[in-house]
Amino acid sequence: MPTAIVATGLSKTYDVKVRDPGIRGALAALARPRYRQVRAVDDVSFAIERGDAVAFLGPNGAGKTTTLKMLTGLLFPSSGRAQVAGCDPWTGGNAFRQRIAFVLGNKQQLLWDLPPEETFRLNRAIYGVSAADYTTRRAELVELLVLGDLIDKPARQLSLGERMKCELAAALLHQPEVLFLDEPTLGLDLEAQQTIRTFLGEYRRRHGATILLTSHYMADVTALASRVLIINRGRLLYDGELSELVARIAPIKRIELVLSETVSRARLEEYGTVAHYAPPRATLEVPRELATAASTRLLTDLEVADLSIQDPPIEEVIRIAFGETEHDVLAEPEPVARTDVRRAPP
């Protein structure tokens, strides 16, 4: 199968001004500007086949969005190359943009004051979709995403989940070869998240689109993509099947408890490893396959006000699997000599 996305040694380094606080610092910064380098993306390479779905996982500030912006032509790399849908994202021009779609989870593209239907019409014209194609694709998207009469209400009246579904529909009318999604399920309720994950899976099955999404929800990955790229501090830590990763880390689930009675930490230790203990709240870690059984026992034996079973957050996974924490992201990197890291495009 031909490759849809190839990244070769992608790096993005920023010069960030360093300034001491106060008036003194402000004047000093004017006279002698100091910079430190931030490596947002550091030598990232991977290849994605046509029709695959891959998830980019990592904590906030890991470099996921920056990588995506380089692949969509918004930013150009400090070094390295990329090929998306057969084009160089930076020089590919409108022909390139015709073949991709970029949906951002927290940034609106729908026309705010008008019904999503109007955004559909606009995108049809902008992407040059023929009337016949438009009718079929629109009908399919409306059906798959269960849009119904949502498309006739002004976008500002829709809930976040409804808007996201309409955003996806608007982005797919021109049937792009590659779909980039940046945190598509961010802030959505569980039902909306589920709908979107199911939809993306079905859409890919039908049309063979390549999907690259970023997320910090493990659940996005399990439902949608079998392959994950884990990125932290700008570096690619892992590129492979999710099942292998799960096998690598102790496969655990977390049980979040809110107790209505006082229970000692020692008592809770009988049910699993106590990760956090702050009565009335507590977090237990239990092996994945024992999670349900442990929960049942807890509910029977103790006075529990609330109980939920969760995946460990991605930060935990990274910490467990690779021995790194996301706090390292915020630490000052080694001071480097200031070099011009901005390179003009080829």
Binding site: Y14, T66, K69, T72, G73, L74, L75, F76, W90, N94, A95, R97, Q98, I100, F102, L104, K107, Q108, Q109, L111, D113, L114, E118, T119, R121, L122, R124, A125, I126, Y127, G128, V129, S130, D133, H174, Q175, P176, E177, R342, A344, P345
Partner: protein, 276 residues
Amino acid sequence: MSRVATRSAFATFRDQYAELMRSAFLIDLQYRASIAIWLLWGITEPIISLGIWWSIAAGGAVDGYTREDFARYFFGVALVNQATLSWDAWNIDRWIREGEMNFRLTRPIAPIHEAIADNIAYKAPTAVIILTAWIGAATFWPAVRIPFEPGRWALAIIAIVLAAAIRFLNGYATGLLAFWTTRATALVELQFGLSLFLSGRIAPLSLLPPQVVRAAEYLWFPYVLSFPVEVLTGTVTTGGQYARGFGGQAIWLAIWLLLYLLVWTRGRRRYGAVGG
């Protein structure tokens, strides 16, 4: 593989513009109450200027301008001003700061086209409203009447369209400086302040000190307001004046088009280097 419709670039362009203008128009329709207030705000400046000059000219003509001349002039200013407003710098600034520039840069159409369509969708109807109000006023106020001269009116329309294009590119290009600085909108305001005099907004240019007028003619200001108004009101009469006026408009249109292209390519590259 998607079936990309094979059609001429012109047809695609035409469709894109049609839809962009349609969306902009529908949105404006929703904000019609606010727009009415903006319209009112837009005409107060020429009305106040007219009021002052009307008083000053009570005792006779001022440098060849009678009260009626002033009335016609400032009604013309109100109309041409409405057609040449420039707000894009504020949009660009906001989009860059709030990340809304990103999706505009990943669409197969340059962001300027959305702005052009937005401008046309807003200015065409509102200019017609001002024109209607002018016609209405002319029915009972002889001072603001303009003789019926279709040829002159056609030339005035051309001059107004050119003026709108110049001012649009000027505002848009200056607004693109937001790729480098947070004070791009301040620069636009500075230009607007200067244009109060140099465009003939406060008074017909001939009433300004001659050195100021000469300086103004080296810049684009007279060509975005004073010239189209004077074509409309009949102050421009000779072939030489027409030639200088339209010639100046053509030159400045080319200059600002080039400046836009320059700032756009440089700015786009900078955005790609350092992000928002």
